[in-house]
């Protein structure tokens, strides 16, 4: 595979909920190692797009190619095996579990001792726990959440919950990381931290990042390319500067009548 070949291609994706055309004939590609931002007004179909990419929803029309091969209809746990991880717009942590255990779930695909050995907590099962616990501790250090390691996540403030959720996705060591508004509801300092984490992940591990974000300054700062959705349609695509100057984008954000 060539470096510049897309890792994921979305071709003519359409998906409707009743009369709502959440996505209508959207095509774009995701290239390895890039930070791609998806922007657009509320209800534009951004979250729906992520749900299509990782198999939560199945498009009614269109095709998805993964590394040049047509991807069959897949359940989310199968796309996870292909190396896609994500965070959610409304934090979707496992509320009753602590930080370590939440992030440990991100390692589940790499753990494969059988249930019997786990019940005995013996030999390979115990070693595996220790190995992956170490990997999780690295994620915890990286995200600077050592202090809340053993805290049940339901009790954490929103900003930290978002960080733990990022940690859970990172623990999976994904090839493609989907982030649905990772900075929403954060103060300036928290946003800066989050930007730093996202960029570090992208640079250090070469992780491809697809990110939905409303804060334009963030988008302009960290993304390589931008896809703009409006009412389920792709209205623009390009570098941050190109998109910023696009009249259709300006109209969409100013709410020009359709």
């Amino acid at each position: 595979m060539n470096v510049s070949d897309p890792i994921l291609e979305l071709e003519n994706i359409s998906l409707s909920f009743g009369a709502v055309h959440a996505l209508a004939d959207v095509s774009f590609s995701i290239y390895p190692g890039e930070v791609l931002a998806i922007i657009g007004p509320n209800g534009a179909g951004k979250t729906t797009m992520l749900n299509v990419i990782n198999g939560v929803y199945h498009p009614s029309e269109g095709k998805i190619n993964y590394k040049g091969q047509a991807r069959a209809r897949m359940r989310p746990h199968q796309t996870a095996v292909q190396g896609i991880a994500r965070t959610f717009q409304n934090v979707a942590l496992f509320k009753g579990m602590n930080t370590v255990d939440n992030i440990m779930t991100g390692r589940n695909l790499k753990m494969n001792t059988n249930i019997l050995l786990q019940a005995l907590y013996w030999g390979p099962a115990q070693r595996e726990e220790a190995v992956h616990r170490e990997a999780v501790e690295k994620v915890i250090d990286f995200l600077e959440i050592e202090a809340v390691r053993k805290t049940v996540v339901g009790r954490l403030p929103f900003g930290l919950q978002k960080r733990v959720e990022l940690g859970r996705a990172l623990a999976a060591e994904p090839e493609i990381l989907l982030l649905d508004e990772p900075m929403a509801g954060m103060n300036l300092e928290e946003k800066e931290d989050m930007c730093r984490f996202v960029l570090d992940v992208n640079e250090e591990f070469g992780t491809t990042i697809v990110l939905i974000e409303h804060d334009m300054s963030v988008v302009m700062d960290i993304s390589d390319r931008v896809v703009v959705l409006d009412y389920g349609r792709k209205i623009s695509e390009g570098t941050p500067d190109e998109v910023r100057g696009d009249q259709r984008v300006i109209d969409a954000y100013l709410g020009v009548a359709h």
Binding site: N54, V56, R75, P76, H77, A80, V81, A85, R86, F88, A92, L93, F94, K95, G96, M97, D101, M104, T105, G106, R107, N108, L109, M111, T113, I115, Q118, A119, L120, Y121, A125, Q126, E128, E129, A130, R133, E134, E137, R168, A169, A172
Partner: protein
């Protein structure tokens, strides 16, 4: 001795992942074990053993089973009694039809057959959730009651549909006295508790809780929903099967189709609600509570009325008290007695200088 974590620095993740990471908890456990293995056999009366300890231990195993399914994996079941019944009948048939089968194999076999039934009953859980799944498990409950009341084959053709369990012996040693039975059940309690504790702190335990707390996110991170739910059903029913077999062989010493009705399923559910969902300790607290409460109520009623109170009235008071407690716990403390206990411990940890 103060209940403190301080001074107990963990030098490796392994130590931090230990089954009882806080030393005082470990000592508490060791004390309990000494009481169970040494003190009880020396000092407990037969009545104490048969009347309270055996049922308490057997219900604890059943509660651990249900807690894994409902408390940890979040799948509500009203059919736990059915799996206990399957365990009891399987053990009877294995013991009678394969005379040379060792006793442990009888019980484990019973657990495995119950586990297989659990997988069958749990298989719609991928499609149906919550209330509807509960109804499906309820159907399993009624189906099992009907099967065991209808087909004499399960009790070797006995027309009464009730039959005594065969004599047991373990490694050539006959299990006859109440104390023998006590030790046998105690062994199972210890082993099931360890297995359960290990499972819930392992990968599968985290997968169960993940599915319980946020099933979409669990699947997105790669957790297979069907395998996770079915494994919870299997493990849960395995423990239920063992509990049912022990109930029949060691406690009532007969296999009886009326023993595992819907009320049994509800009773185990009450135990985990009162004891604490998602807590192994809670299973023991809940089981103890259910065994002890009727006795306390009885004593209280006798004291208050001077002895002339009808048993029916006491039973009614018992039901009302349970009802009230369930409502109380569901609303005020959904994590049950176990959470009250942890809260108390947290206070103790900081005592005498909170903050």
């Amino acid at each position: 001795m103060l209940y403190r974590e301080s001074g107990q620095f963990k030098t490796s993740y392994k130590a931090d992942m230990a089954i009882f990471p806080i030393r005082q908890d470990l000592w508490g456990l060791i004390t309990t074990l000494i009481v169970a293995v040494v003190i009880v056999p020396l000092f407990a009366s037969e009545h104490m053993i048969v009347g309270y300890l055996l049922p308490f231990m057997i219900w604890s195993i059943a509660a651990i089973g249900l807690n894994i399914l409902t408390g940890y994996a979040g799948q509500l079941s009203l059919g736990h009694g059915a799996f206990m019944a399957v365990g009891a009948y399987s053990a009877y048939n294995l013991a009678v039809r394969i005379p040379d089968l060792p006793l442990l194999a009888v019980f484990i076999g019973a657990g495995l057959i119950a586990a297989a039934c659990g997988v069958v009953v749990g298989s719609p859980s991928l499609r149906i959730k919550g209330f509807y799944l509960a109804v499906a498990t309820l159907a399993a409950q009624f189906f099992s009651e009907w099967v065991f009341a209808t087909f004499p084959w399960f009790v070797g053709g006995a027309a009464s549909m009730v039959i005594d369990t065969p004599k047991m012996s373990l490694f050539g040693y006959p299990i006859e006295s109440n104390l023998d039975n006590y030790f046998l059940v105690l062994g199972f309690v210890i082993v099931t508790t360890l297995l359960a504790k290990n499972l819930v702190r392992s990968e599968i335990g985290r997968a169960w809780m993940a599915v319980r707390d946020m099933d979409v996110a669990a699947e997105v991170i790669g957790i297979r929903p069907l395998y996770t739910k079915l494994s919870a059903f299997a493990v849960s029913s395995f423990f239920a099967g063992i509990a049912g077999a022990l109930y029949a062989f060691c406690y009532v010493k007969s296999v009886d189709f009326t023993a595992f009705d819907l009320f049994v399923s509800l009773k185990v559910l009450f135990m985990i609600i009162i004891g604490g969902m998602g807590s192994i300790l809670g299973c023991f607290l809940g089981a103890a509570f259910i065994v002890i409460l009727p006795i306390l109520l009885n004593v209280a009623a006798h004291h208050l009325t001077g002895g002339n109170v009808s048993p029916e009235l006491i039973t009614n008071i018992e039901h009302m008290t349970f009802g009230g407690l369930i409502v109380y716990f569901l609303i005020v403390e959904p994590h049950g007695l176990a959470r009250m206990w942890t809260t108390a411990k947290e206070k103790l940890r900081l005592w005498p200088f909170p903050h």
